[in-house]
Structure formats: C-alpha cells, structure tokens
Symmetry: C2
Subunit: 404 residues, 2 copies
C-alpha cells in the first residue's frame, strides 16, 4: 500500500468524459489498495477565458481580484471530479485552497506556498475518502484567495504530497513522460524511465515545459518522488527522483532547445569596473530576466556585451537600455530574435570530462556557428541561428548515443 | 446621504459591457454621496451550464459538491465587477460568502441565511470602498460553501441590506418594476410605484417571478425597503414596502396568472374522518407541494377531492397516489394539465367586500367556467381552462379599473 497524489492537468479534465476517465483512474488506484489524494487544474481553456475577462476590463487589473476570478476554474473541476468519483461509488470530497488551508504569501498572481495543513487530509484518506484538491490556489495572509502562477497546479500537487508524506506524486499530463529530446524533432527520442531533479530543472527551464519549474524545485527540496505520465495511456511514465536513485546514469540525459529567447548586444561599452552593473541593473529594476551573458575580451578600452532575454521582454529590454544610454555610454545596440538555445543536460557531466568538447565538435562538423556559450555543472548551452535548431538537436542526440 | 445595496441579476452582468454598465451605475450612486454595497449574480447562462455539468455526471449529485461548483459563477462576477469599478477610479473589493461571512444552515442547495457579519462591510463603506458581494452563496456549519437556491441572490441582497442597516435595497433586473399584470397580455398594464410586501409575496408565488419569494419574506421580516428596477433604464422602479407606506391603496393591486400547475382529482374516496390525511400525507412525505384544494359535498358516502400540484411534480404525484390506492380506497384518478390559475391580489381586500364577487361575475360574463376556488386574506384565486388565461386576465384588469 502506498500513499499517492494524482494530479491532472487541464487537458486531462477538458470535458465531462475526461473527468469521468480521471475518476476511473483514481478509483483503480484506490481499489489497488492505495491511499489517494487528487489535485486538479481548471478545464482546458477556462483559465485563459477568465484571464481574458480581467484583461479586457482593465489592463492593470488588481491581482487580488484576478486571483478571486481565475481560482474558480479549479474549484469547478474539483467539485465535478468529486461528483464523478461518487458516481463510481468512491467516497470523495472537494477542497478549496482556503478550506485545507494551503497558506501562501501575499504575492497575488504568483504566490508561493508557505504551509499546508495535511493532518485532516490524511485522516480522510485513512477512512477511504479521496480528497479532491483545487490546484493553483491558496489563501494569503489577508484571508483572500491567491493563485500560484501559470502551471501552479504542479506545485500544489508536490506541496500536498510533501504535506501528507506521500510516497509518490503522479503528474498526469498530455505527454507520457520525459524524452531525451522533443520527439517531433527526433522521432527516435527515448522516454526516460528516471531523471534527476537537477536534470529536470534544467530541461524544464530550457524548453521541455512539462512541469512548472517551481514544482521541481519544491520536489527536490522536499524529496518528493514525482512521476510524469499520460492520462490517456496505461504506460508507466518518467520518475523524477534524487540523483542517487538514477542507476545506470547516462552522461547526458537529454537535449533541450528553446526558441523563446532573443539576443541583444551592447557594443563598445567602456571596459571599466561596474559596467556590468550599469547594463544589467536597469534591466533587473524592470524585472527583466537575463539568461546567457558573455563579455568579450577588451580592445581599445571598450568591450561588447551580449546577452539573451525572453522574447516577451525583448521590446521592453531594448527600451530600458536606450533610456540608460547616457549612464552606460555604449555606441550602439544590435539585436537578433532569430536565435535558438540548444542545451545538453546530464548530472553525469560532473564526473565525465569532454561533454562540452563533443558538443562543439558535433556542431562544427555540421557548419553551425556558436554565438554564445554558457555552462553550469550539469548543462552546456549554446546560442545558434534559429534555422539550425532541428539539425543541431538531431546531431547532438546522435552524438551522445541517445537514439533508440 | 443614504446607505444602499444594489443587486444586479444575471442579465445585468451577462457580458463585460454590461458589467462596465453596472460599474458606472454604482459609481454614479457613490458620486451622489451614498454608501453603496453591491451584490451580484452569475453571468447569464453560467449557472445553468454548471448545473448541467453536475447533472450530467450524476443525476443524484452530492449537493455539497454542487454548491462548490455552482457558487463559482458569482465569485467570477464579483471579482470582475470590482475590477470594472477600480478601472473607473472607484475603490472596490470582492467578497465571497465565506469571507464576510454569510453564515447559513447546512441545507446544501437550498440553504437559509442565519447571520451576516456586517461591521467590516460598514467600515469599508465608510472609507469609500464599495464591497462587491458574491450573491447566492454562504458558508455552512461544516465550513463548506452553500448556495441559497435559484434566485437566491435576491435573498443575499436583502440579508446584506438588513445586516448593514441599509436605507434601501435596489434589485436591478430585466424588468423595470412590478406591473398591475403581465404587460405582454395587457399592454395597458400600469407600473406600480409602491406595493406592499404581502402583495408582492402573493404576486411572486403565483407567477410574477421578479423576486425570489424568500427574499420578500425576509424583507418583510427585517423591514428592508426593496426597489425593483431595470439596469437598462433610468426610470424609477417599484418600491416594495410596508403596507402603511402604500398611500392611496387601490383595493386590488394586480392580477397574476400561472400556467405551472396541474389539476388532480381523486374520485369517490370514502367520506370519513382522516381521509384528507390519507390523500395528502403520502404527497407531503414525497416533498410534493399541494396548492389549491377543494372537497365537494358528499353523496352516497363518497366524495371527490380536487387539488393542484406544480407541473414538475405532476408525474410523481400521480405515482404516489397510485401506490397509495389501497390505503386511500378511491375509484379513480383524473388529471388535467391544461389549467391556469388566475389570482386577484390586494391588501385593500381586507377592508372591502365584494372583490371575489366581482371576479366571479366578470368571468361568468365571459363564459369562463371556474374549476376550483381558493381565497386568502388578500387574494382570490381561481383555476380555469388554460385557453382562457389571456381573456380572464384582461377582463379582470378592466373590471378592477387597473387599465391605464
């Protein structure tokens, strides 16, 4: 007997038939002897509609009211799923964030969970009742409804799993696991049976958007074993677990790519101490996330700084830099939105040399020019022209022997 | 300066433009110096959709889950209306039932309000903030969301008005007031400037479905002055007030009709003590409301009992009586669904004789046969064949000199 959290995303509860399907899956786990808590998202499309309402009424809407409005989507699904379970003869009840309570900080629209009272949920599960919890929401210190940001139901599920000391948190989604790369680009991409938290974090943040990044961070911190699997098949999915649990670790777990970034180069800035702060300070003040950064070797007392920002922040970032031109003292800004970031990820890199070298050599053989390089302990990322995305991903997938 | 509750029904908040219109109306009252609290229904169609979801998943759905699901409609409107008010520069915030709290009993799906904490709402209003309250909902003793039954937002509004000691409760709807009869039948029907609570109750329960009956009962008990008016015009509406306030009272306030009832006759039941209990006991046990009842004079030791039930209960009522045939000992049941109930209502009847006589004479002159008669202190109702509905209403409207 295990204690399991089952989380179902928007496409898994998109209509009443799918909610019935979810109920059958949940009941099957209970019938197999497990204690089950369920976390649900809003029915596909509902959250977008509610967000659209708020934006239409006021571009600068009050985030507290936005939260009160959009959190209703999950409340509907939780109630309907409880009804569907009861119809199968399975005892169940819905829980809204404030009822449990899922306590968060007061950052409306992107709140962080601070604590979940798990004892009553455990008691209910012990007597055979399935708690069906509205994901994505909590209650703030002002006693008002908060939401956790898009994809927040993943984080709800992991936080509930930690609070009730679950053996596993199953995240049902529209993909059946984590692959070595995007199967639309490499049809021979393999599904991973296990992946380390750190790898999942790097893959999630560079484009394999299966789980909300924060949910993986939380799972790693709380040591919650997460499984990503499909609600439309019976195949086992991918377990996201502690590095130690990933036996027979490949050096490289996967190849990720992202076309969501744009490149900016600030040319001929004076090469003096504090210049990086002068460039990136105003961007930080405007809440613009900067990802890859390179600064080339100084010539003639000036240098060029190249970095990437999310495409949605691109126009704003340019404006911020133009406004700060006097303070920074650069010659010009050049920009390129036709770029892609390709990343090789694997915890095995820590103990194996030559991973970056293989990457550079492989891309060079295909004539792909590398514009920017960044590395972390378990990741090497390069920026290339967007048109090479598929070619680069395929070549690297083969080079690291990931093909099936 | 007055303190006003403004309640907007589903058609008044049916889309974003109408919500903006509501916000303008509310702001105009605040700008005129009044303290305003707002109560809103779900956007038109939303509640029906959510109810449909529950019914599709389970014909015998758990009313507690139903409440959790359907209450979301009002939460959405409350948040959106607060945003629309803020966009006009008017401070506002939404309140859900559990936040105020609006405490109810535990009858999920048709809960009754037991108490509302009004002090914080009053404080907010005093500093210029408009509370926007989700109607139709409260919180039960089990700490779960309850709903008040269809039309319950009217009752929410009246209860809030009582709790914050409002000078008036304005119910905005898609009609602009209470008329002497249905203007679709009598184009010359007059809008009443004032009507007594008791008259409104009789008119509401026999077909002029503008306000939820319970809201009028509550307004009468708490002496809340209610105004019914249109959110699409600037005309004053109809004030529903204490009888003493209705000066120049006409003897008859209005003519109502209902085609929602069906007639059942139990023929040749033994005319003995306890027979009425034998007939109506099983119906009461099945929660079937019986309205008009007549028992004719006994012949040959048996009698016929005729009564009406709501058309929605008709098939069930017949079944209940057939099951109880042995105990009751009747010869047969005859039924007629093609009937209409016509009612003449007015508190003036208390001090004026001849109202019923005028009714019977008027109908007789038109050749309309009366099947059943019932009377109360302020109402005379007759059952006639449905095809005579319009003729009867028009003739009575003229007979009581209500034509404009």
């Amino acid at each position: 007997m295990a204690r399991i959290v089952m989380k179902f995303g928007g496409t898994s509860v998109a209509d009443l038939d799918r909610i019935r399907n979810v109920a059958r899956r949940v009941k099957a786990e209970v019938d197999a002897g497990h204690e089950v808590a369920v976390v649900v998202s809003a029915m596909a499309g509902v959250t977008n509609q509610l967000v659209g309402y708020c934006q239409s009424l006021s571009p600068l809407f009050d985030a507290r009211e936005y939260d009160a409005v959009v959190a209703t989507g999950e409340q509907v699904t939780a109630g309907l799923t409880a009804i569907a379970l009861q119809e199968l003869g399975q005892e169940a009840r819905s829980w809204q964030g404030w009822q449990i309570a899922i306590e968060t900080d007061g950052q409306h629209g992107k709140a962080r969970i601070e604590g979940i009272e798990g004892d009553e949920l455990i008691e209910r599960m012990k007597i055979g009742q399935v708690p069906v919890i509205a994901g994505f929401q909590g209650i703030g210190p002002d006693n008002r409804v908060t939401t956790l940001g898009r994809g927040g139901s993943d984080t709800s599920a992991v936080a509930v799993a930690a609070a009730i000391k679950a053996d596993r948190c199953d995240i049902y989604t529209d993909v059946d696991g984590i692959y070595t790369t995007d199967p639309r680009i490499v049809p021979g991409a393999k599904k991973l049976s296990k992946i380390a938290y750190e790898e999942m974090l790097e893959l999630a943040s560079v484009g394999a958007k299966v789980l909300q990044t924060r949910s993986v961070e939380l799972a790693m911190k709380e040591r919650v074993r997460v499984q990503v699997l499909s609600s439309f098949s019976d195949e086992p999915g991918t377990l996201v677990v502690d590095e130690d649990e990933v036996v027979e670790q490949e050096i490289v777990a996967g190849i990720a790519y992202s076309r969501d970034e744009a490149k900016l180069t600030v040319r001929r800035v004076p090469d003096r101490p504090g210049i990086a702060a002068a460039v990136f300070g105003p961007l930080a003040d405007a809440s613009i996330n900067v990802d890859m950064i390179v600064q080339n070797v100084s010539a003639d007392g000036t240098t060029d700084m190249t970095f990437t920002v999310g495409k949605t922040d691109f126009a704003r970032a340019k404006q911020v830099l133009e406004n700060a031109r006097a303070e920074i003292g650069y010659a010009e800004i050049t920009a390129d939105q036709n770029v892609a970031k390709i990343s090789v990820v694997g915890v095995g890199m820590r103990s194996h040399a030559g991973v970056a070298g293989t990457m550079f050599k492989t891309l060079a053989e295909r004539g792909i020019n590398i514009q920017v390089i960044t590395t972390s302990e378990i990741k090497v990322s390069v920026l290339v022209a967007a048109e090479y995305t598929e070619l680069a991903v395929r070549a690297l997938h083969t080079a690291y022997q990931l093909d099936a």
